[in-house]
């Protein structure tokens, strides 16, 4: 079924009886070409692009809970291509280009909204860094503008310019960055994959891998064994647990990141702003809530909740940046589990087990990567070769000293 304004009108006039399920609820078949573990954004996108780009449709996406319930269901919805390093820049630019055509491609309005992202700078060293980053962005085909304090004030006069502990000296503006309605991404990919024959199997937990003679033959699940020529793990947050079932240790720790939304307000904040002297970023959703976040809590955790000090720290950053927020009420806070990798960059790679593939380590940056991650993972699964923009995301890069460390924090996942 194709969605369109006309279809909406037709259904409205005929009692909405024509809407069909966005995806089916099939029982698993005994054998697939590809089994994707994880029905989050990346897993569903991988299935979609395997089907669409490579014609591989005998696929199951197995999901422990409900699809889209992982990080794609609880993030701050930001998409951007403002990376610095060679290993990352082309990949995220590719991802942003996919976002730009996504809705028409999968016939679902995910509300890709390129409202602009402004990263503020508060010191000369930060400005030097922003210049280097902005230039890298432009060289990678992305966009960037360097604003001075006056330019920032013209955009956002309500920021704290007059009594700030760390005065705003300028900002790096990335106009093509923005936000996307996160749940819709999962649903759009799921619907697109389902329409192409992919089986989406919810409430199906992977409990083990069947590995014989170094080859992965399929997965044991709560719904029984499912055979597969290729098994593709894609379970952000739970990567260590799932790959542990295959006996693998990963350069990943699981950490909790809290995010927040306020009560709905009439529009006050058009784009996305990130504070450069504290840990705070914020945008306003189409419903009117301010969506914001900051640092991860900083200790290994699989509990989908954080603690109070980080809540206070994040909001202190918000108030330092926008003193007018004092009377806005935080409506809800939540925690998601992040696969924090050892250098802050992800993995899309084969494993040493034949037929077993791994995608993970997205830290808190996985949402923006969804389309490219799915595309490149599909490429790897279908061709056996990494996609051109994802050649650096190797599992063995630390062994060779080829870290992709955007933040320069080294092997300390809680600082990335």
């Amino acid at each position: 079924m194709r969605y369109s304004g006309l279809k909406v009108i037709k259904e409205a006039l005929t009692g909405h009886n024509g809407w069909r399920p966005s995806w089916r609820n099939p029982e698993p078949k005994p054998q697939y070409d590809v089994v994707i573990i994880g029905g989050g954004g990346h897993g569903l996108a991988t299935a979609y692009y395997l089907a669409k780009n490579h014609g591989i449709t005998n696929i199951a996406v197995v999901e422990k809970g409900w699809i889209g319930g992982g990080n794609v269901g609880r993030n701050t919805t930001i998409v951007r291509s403002n990376y610095l390093l060679d290993g990352n820049g082309p990949f995220y630019e590719f991802s942003l280009k996919l976002w730009e055509g996504l809705e028409q491609d999968f016939n679902y309005n995910a509300m890709v909204s390129q409202r602009g992202i402004l990263n503020l700078v508060h010191s000369d060293a930060q400005r030097d860094g922003a210049r280097r980053r902005g230039n890298a962005m432009i060289l990678n085909g992305s966009d960037a503008e360097l604003l001075d304090a006056k330019g920032v004030r013209a955009m956002y006069p309500f920021l704290n310019f007059d009594s700030a502990r760390f005065p705003i000296k300028g900002g790096l503006l990335h106009r093509r960055g923005g936000t996307v309605r996160h749940d819709a991404v999962a649903w759009g990919y799921a619907r697109g994959a389902d329409m192409r024959g992919v089986d989406i199997i919810q409430n199906c937990e992977v409990t083990g891998f069947r590995i014989e003679n170094g080859k992965c033959l399929g997965v044991e699940t709560s719904k029984g064994f499912i055979g597969a020529s290729k098994v593709a793990s894609c379970v952000a947050g739970s990567s260590s647990r799932v790959m542990g079932l295959a006996g693998m240790r990963l350069p990943i720790e699981s950490h909790v990141l809290q995010a927040f939304v306020t009560e709905g307000l009439k529009p006050v904040l058009d784009g996305v702003i990130t504070f450069g002297a504290g840990h705070f970023y914020c945008s306003q959703s189409d419903k009117g809530g301010l969506v914001f976040g900051g640092d991860i809590d900083g200790y290994n955790s699989y509990a989908q909740r954080g603690n109070l000090p980080v809540v206070e720290d994040v909001v202190e950053g918000g108030m330092a940046l926008i003193p007018a927020l004092g009377r806005v009420r935080v409506l809800r806070s939540w925690g998601g589990i992040m696969d924090m990798s050892m250098d802050g960059s992800p993995f899309i790679d084969k494993t040493h087990i034949d037929g077993l593939y791994f995608n993970g380590g997205w830290c808190y940056g996985g949402f923006k990567a969804t389309p490219a991650s799915g595309w490149c993972y599909a490429h790897l699964l279908a061709t056996g070769q990494p996609h051109d923009v994802a050649t650096a995301f190797r599992l063995d890069r630390f062994r060779h000293g080829r870290m992709i460390d955007e933040k320069g924090q080294g092997a300390q996942p809680n600082l990335h």
């Binding site: 060293a125 230039n135 307000l265 504290g278 206070e312 000293g401």
Partner: protein
């Protein structure tokens, strides 16, 4: 007067509220309001009066106003549904200017003299809202319709559709003026935290308080007593209010009990930590000067009792959202506590006995009750009112307020009943929210058709009273007292159940009933977000069946009440559609906060310039007197430069400072550099582990430059270590990394080499340290350092250090080190004398035209000298990249040396630190430019490196830069392009030595 206006006042009274000031047409007698104290307030600019003890909602209802808001999507007219913080409809903008506060629940906003409130999400007025046109198109605007359209043409989403949707969305307005109020934070400790001061909480507080336990009793309301304030029945022989007063008096006399009204516990965090918000000054016009509006309390509890009561739930039926339709318990609260009826004629719709109480209480207060409609065929009779058992309300009328309801009687016939208000009761949901903030998942209890706390409660928490599904007053008192005894017993405190008064102990008689199936119109589940039964059906049809999909697809439960009044109804409808029991469908997660919390409160005092503490240098006061410009360096404020009269541009000041230092002498406060005192017999061996280069053989009285690596082989800090004695070093760190280096040293000392006899302690702030740099540095210092100390090059050579006295005997430390490349010393005295020392140095330096200099000149000189600093030590550079590969000792075990040998960090084309000079000397060099070969495309693939730092060198008369260049060690003399497309610039630069000034180091050894 238009007809619509007539509607929003109950029972068709057409009086203009503004004109009939003081006419509280719906005020009853009695209640817990102080009618002797009249409060004036305005709503949408119209003047009204209420009483002390009123909320905005009760006062408006007293004045006959039922219409208080508009819904989110369809802009339907709405009145208060509840009398508490769970209110989804009656949200207003309270106050104005910087204090304007959107989405304030009128049901909990305490009335104060001069209150100014305005309705929101409507235009041009609450009565006539243009956007209510959405309601006409509701059939097109079903759940998730926007996911299916607005995709063509592609550019239109952001340019056309989204702006319209965005403008229409949102609720109240924020002024975007800075919030003028102060907020505070605090920390409390207790044996027992009791959350909610209803009968259960009060009984618990008495029980625990009497045995001396440290108790905190937090109550959201401004009155203690909970439902007792809203009910007509008493306790023992006295009224509820009288009993509460007795209890309050007793608790007030107990020093170990802290009673906190107006305090909502909003979050349950790990290990017994709770967050609570105290509304200190929301019930007055404005806080007193210097006093907070609200306080965020972090409560450390050993045990907690949740006595947060229960929330009544509505029944969904067609047009169940009109102003005047409210929850039965809320209506009872208005009648009994606030002495207000929402209308002069009222009907009741219920599926349980509790609804009947509303009818009885209304009748007792003289309000006309036209019907009690009970879905149960065997509903008990109610005195003095017509009962329609086995009947349902199937529709309602009244555009801006209820005028009548239509019933389907058990017999099948319909009947219209006129009424200005309808009390609805679908049963009660225990307030389990805080039990779910960690891992708890509530369980279904069939007898009350509700979820009760279950599973893993936050450790230390137990639940009492209605929050646990024990709805009668007697049960609340009993479980409260017993809960306290049990909790204290865990802590080893013996307590006995207090003697409790006789109380109402009615059983729950309820027949679950969630929504009326009859009718083609819309029946609301989520009143704020306009989610209807039809929307849930559509979600089901499209396979959004898991509770989370349902919520996200329809927005059910995502309103400001977070589903408190809507989730159950939605779940019940979905359960029926999928043919499962409600508990099989599940519940959505309750997350903190329990009620929304102002961001100002969460930030507390850490706002504006107090966001983080400021660290000031010892010469700060003196520098201020000089008119210095300051800059934030980490938490420090450092002098950036010292402008002189006539200088109009910072470059003039900085160039002057640099030239004068290189010509004569300058002084800079370098106190901010970290100073770590490392002592012990194994101190040298310890430093050998910490630094990449060797320190074992450093002689006493000598200083050495050192580079610190992370274990992954990346350089993270550099500085010097001065050996003051065989077993005593002073290590300096960069300003930024002082804390990190100290932490890493402690890690090495305690975890890696625990038997090394070494002690470390930070002394950064104990010593005021000044750099004295320039050809005349020695001459100047000789005037300050006491004459018995020989500063000659022979006696005190480059990289020497020692303890001296200055100015006639003050102990000082002297280091001959140089960041500027000049003959330079750093001199340190106890911090209290730093101010005196800078004055003395400046005075002594007058004959040399000494200049004070700041971080800018410091930066220029270090670039001229090719010293790596923060921009080079950026967390991705190894010793090799920085040109210091040879420093990394292979002969000892130092942190980072093994990992720095990895192949990827030692490639032939590795980045190397180089100097860069513009080919055309007038071209500026910008840090952050990327380096490209002289010919060829400019692209990411062709990238050769980047410029890390740049400055104008007044000595060389041109811009210079330091950069990291692929294979930079072998490319001296090469011409490159420094491209900066970000700012549209491209400059030709030549690769040169990073040591622009005095490459042989003759000056610093002079």
């Amino acid at each position: 007067m238009n007809a619509g206006h007539a509607d929003f006042r109950a029972d068709g009274s057409t009086a203009n509220a503004g004109a009939k000031r003081g006419a509280q047409v719906n005020r009853l007698s009695g209640g817990l309001v102080n009618s002797a104290k009249v409060m004036n307030f305005t709503f949408d600019g119209k003047a009204f009066q209420g009483y002390e003890g009123d909320t905005l909602a009760s006062a408006l209802l007293a004045n006959g106003v039922r219409l208080m808001g508009r819904s989110f999507k369809y802009h339907r007219p709405r009145g208060p549904l509840t009398a508490g913080s769970e209110e989804p409809n009656a949200l207003v903008e309270l106050r104005s200017g910087g204090r304007q506060e959107p989405n304030t629940r009128a049901t909990v906003a305490e009335l104060y003299e001069g209150m100014e409130a305005n309705s929101q999400n409507r235009w041009p007025s609450l009565e006539r809202d243009f956007m209510s046109i959405n309601d006409r198109f509701s059939n097109f605007l079903t759940a998730g319709f926007y996911y299916k359209t607005f995709m063509w043409p592609a550019a239109f989403w952001e340019k056309v559709y989204e702006p319209i949707i965005r403008k229409a969305a949102g609720l109240g307005r924020l002024s975007m003026e800075d919030d003028p109020d102060a907020y505070d934070k605090g920390f409390l400790h207790c044996d027992l935290l009791i959350i909610g001061a209803g009968p259960a909480g009060l009984a618990a507080a008495l029980t625990a308080g009497r045995v001396g336990a440290q108790v905190i009793l937090a109550e959201e309301d401004f009155l203690l007593g909970g439902r007792l304030n809203a009910e007509s029945f008493g306790l023992g022989d006295i009224s509820g209010a009288a009993w509460i007063a007795q209890v309050c008096d007793e608790l007030a006399a107990l020093p170990n009990v802290r009673v906190m009204p107006r305090t909502t516990v909003v979050g349950a965090y790990d290990h017994g930590v709770y967050s609570a918000v105290e509304r200190v000054a929301d019930h007055v016009l404005a806080p007193e000067v210097g006093k907070p509006r609200q306080i965020l309390w972090r409560i450390y509890s050993k045990r907690a009792l949740l006595s947060a009561g229960a929330t009544e739930r509505p029944i969904a039926f067609e047009n169940n959202d009109r102003p005047g339709i409210m929850l039965a318990g809320a209506m009872r609260a208005y009648v009994n506590r606030w002495a207000v009826t929402p209308a002069q004629t009222v009907a009741v719709f219920t599926n349980n006995d509790d609804g009947h109480r509303t009818a009885a209480d209304l009748i007792a207060k003289g309000v006309k009750v036209t019907a009690v409609v009970d879905t149960r065929a065997d509903a008990p009779k109610v005195e003095g009112v017509e009962l329609f058992a086995g009947a349902q309300v199937i529709d309602t009328k009244g555009r801006l307020g209820l005028t009548s309801v239509r019933l389907r009687l058990a017999s099948g016939i319909t009947r219209d009943i006129p009424c200005g208000a309808l009390a609805v009761s679908g049963g009660w949901n225990p307030n389990v929210h805080l039990t779910c903030h960690q891992r708890g998942r509530p369980a279904w209890r069939e007898d009350i058709a509700a979820f009760v706390p279950a599973g893993e409660l936050p450790p230390g928490m137990s639940v009492i009273g209605a929050a646990n599904g024990d709805f009668s007053t007697a049960a609340a008192l009993r479980t409260g007292a017993k809960g306290a005894v049990a909790a204290l017993s865990d802590l080893g405190i013996a307590a006995t159940v207090a003697e409790l008064p006789q109380a109402e102990d009615a059983p729950v008689n309820l027949q679950a009933f969630w929504y009326v199936k009859e009718g083609k119109g819309r029946a609301w589940l989520d009143l704020q977000n306009d989610v209807t039964v039809k929307d849930v059906k559509l979600a089901h049809q499209e396979n959004f069946r898991s509770v989370e999909h349902l919520k996200r697809y329809t927005t059910l439960g995502m309103a400001t009440d977070q589903g408190k009044t809507s989730n159950m109804g939605g779940l019940a409808v979905m359960a029926e559609l999928v043919g499962k029991q409600i508990p099989e469908v599940g519940t959505t997660m309750f997350r903190p906060p329990y009620t929304p919390v102002a961001m100002g409160t969460l930030a507390g005092r850490s706002v504006g310039e107090e966001f983080r503490p400021t660290r000031k240098t010892p010469s700060h006061k003196w520098a201020e007197e000089q008119g210095a410009t300051f800059v934030e360096v980490g938490m420090w404020l450092r002098t950036q430069w010292f402008p002189r009269k006539g200088e109009t541009h910072w470059r003039q000041s900085v160039d002057r400072e640099v030239l004068q230092i290189r010509k004569s002498v300058g002084i800079c406060d370098v106190t901010t550099l970290g100073k770590i005192d490392v002592q012990g017999p194994d101190a040298a061996e310890f430093l050998n582990h910490i630094y990449a280069n060797a320190f074992g053989k450093l002689a006493v009285g000598k200083v050495r430059y050192g580079l610190m690596l992370r274990e992954d082989g990346i350089a993270y800090d550099d500085g010097t270590a001065a050996r003051l004695a065989e077993d005593h070093f002073v290590v300096t760190t960069t300003t930024a990394n002082a804390v990190l280096v100290y932490r890493n040293m402690e890690f090495a000392r305690q975890c890696l080499w625990p038997d090394l006899d070494v002690q470390v302690i930070s002394t950064t702030e104990a010593w005021a340290q000044f750099a004295v740099a320039g050809p005349n540095a020695r001459k100047l210092l000789q005037k300050i350092v006491d004459p018995e100390f020989d500063l000659s090059n022979e006696a005190f050579p480059f990289m020497g250090c020692g303890e001296v006295t200055v100015c006639g005997g003050l102990r000082a430390r002297l280091f001959r080190i140089s960041f500027s490349g000049e003959l330079a010393f750093e001199i340190a005295v106890p911090t209290r004398y730093g101010d005196g020392l800078i004055r003395a140095l400046m005075q002594a330096g007058e004959e040399f035209d000494v200049v004070p200099y700041g971080t800018e000149a410091l930066g220029v000189m270090r670039i001229e000298k090719g010293h790596a600093a923060g921009n080079e030590l950026n967390g991705t550079t190894s010793a090799l990249n920085l040109g210091m590969a040879r420093m990394v000792s292979k002969k000892k075990d130092c942190i980072g040396n093994t990992s720095s040998a990895r192949a990827g960090m030692n490639q032939d084309d590795a980045l190397m630190l180089v100097g860069l000079k513009p080919v055309n000397s007038t071209d500026p060099v910008a840090a952050g430019s990327h380096l490209m070969n002289a010919i060829g495309v400019v692209s990411a693939e062709a990238d050769q490196g980047y410029i890390t730092s740049a400055a104008y060198s007044p000595v060389l008369g041109c811009s210079i830069g330091l950069g990291l260049l692929k294979n930079g060690g072998n490319r001296k003399g090469e011409i490159l392009r420094a491209v900066n497309p970000l700012e549209g610039r491209e400059v030709e630069v030549e690769v040169v030595s990073a040591h622009f000034v005095d490459p042989e180091g003759e000056r610093l050894r002079a």
